[in-house]
Symmetry: C2
Subunit: 122 residues, 2 copies
DNA sequence: GACTATACCTCGACGTCCGATGTATCATGT
DNA sequence: ACATGATACATCGGACGTCGAGGTATAGTC
C-alpha cells in the first residue's frame, strides 16, 4: 500500500498563505491571476497557488480592510482587479511576516538538532 | 471588527508535525507524553503539541510501519510506550526533513524580498 | 482520601486549502 | 466566422490536519 497518506507534500503550509499573499502585495500591488504566477515563478513552482484558494482569500482580506481593490485594465485590454494594501494591511503584513519568519526558523531548528545560533544559548 | 479570523497563529503549520515528530524520534526514542514536553521545551512553548494530535499520529505512524513501540516502565514505575523509528521511518524522516527545510527556506525567501538565492534571476 | 503529575487514549468540531467547474474577453490560427 | 488557448475572475464541495474537551488509570504527596 505505502499509501503516502498524502499529508500534503506539495502544499502551502497552513496559515502561511496569508503572510505570503500580503507580503507579495506589499512588494507591489497586483491582481489575482498575477499573484498566482508571481508565486509560482518565485518558488520555481514549489508553491502553486490555486485560484480556488486565492480569490476567496482576497475577498476576505478586503472585508477585513487589509486590502483594497481598484478595477483596471491590462495593457492587453482585459479587466483586472488590482489589489493594494491598506495601512492596516501593512501593519498586519509585518505582524504575519515576523510570525512566519520565526516559525520557519523554529522548524529549521527542530529539524537540525545540531543547528547553531539560537540567540539565547540554552 | 478586527476579527483576526483566527487563522491560527499559535499552531503548528499543517503537515509539519509529521516531520517534527519523526525528527524528534530520530534524535532518541521516546514516549508520547515525553514528546509533548520535549517539543514545548525545545520551542520555548511556541509549539505546543496537544495529545489529541499526537497519539493518533503515533498510531498512524505505527500502522504505516515508520515507528515501532515497546511497552516499558519509567523509573517512577509508570507505564510507557516507547516509540522508536524503523528503518523505513528513518528514510521517511530524511525525506520529510528535506522537504520542510526547503519549505521553511522558501517561506523565508518569499517574506524577505531582498533575500539572496534565487538561482535564476529572471 | 483528595489532589496533582504522569501517561495513555478517543471523539467531535473547525479552519484551511485544493480541485473541479463556470463565466467572459482577447489574440491567434484556419 | 469559428475554434482554441491564455488571461482573468469567481464559487462550491470536500478532504485533511489540528485542536480542545473529555475519559481512564497509576504513583506520589499532603
Amino acid at each position: 500500500m505505502a499509501r503516502e497518506t498524502s499529508s500534503s507534500k506539495g502544499e502551502i503550509p497552513k496559515g502561511a498563505l496569508r503572510a505570503i499573499v500580503l507580503s507579495l502585495l506589499s512588494d507591489e500591488p497586483s491582481h489575482g491571476y498575477g499573484l498566482c504566477q508571481t508565486l509560482a515563478g518565485r518558488t520555481r513552482s514549489a508553491f502553486e497557488l490555486s485560484e480556488g484558494t486565492l480569490y476567496p482569500l482576497l475577498h476576505e482580506l478586503e472585508l477585513e480592510g487589509l486590502v483594497e481593490a481598484k478595477d483596471g485594465v491590462s495593457e492587453t485590454g482585459r479587466k483586472r482587479r488590482i489589489y493594494h494594501l491598506t495601512r492596516a494591511g501593512r501593519r498586519e503584513t509585518e505582524s504575519w511576516r515576523k510570525h512566519w519568519l520565526a516559525t520557519a526558523e523554529l522548524i529549521t531548528e527542530l529539524l537540525i538538532p545540531d543547528a547553531p545560533a539560537r540567540t539565547r544559548s540554552r
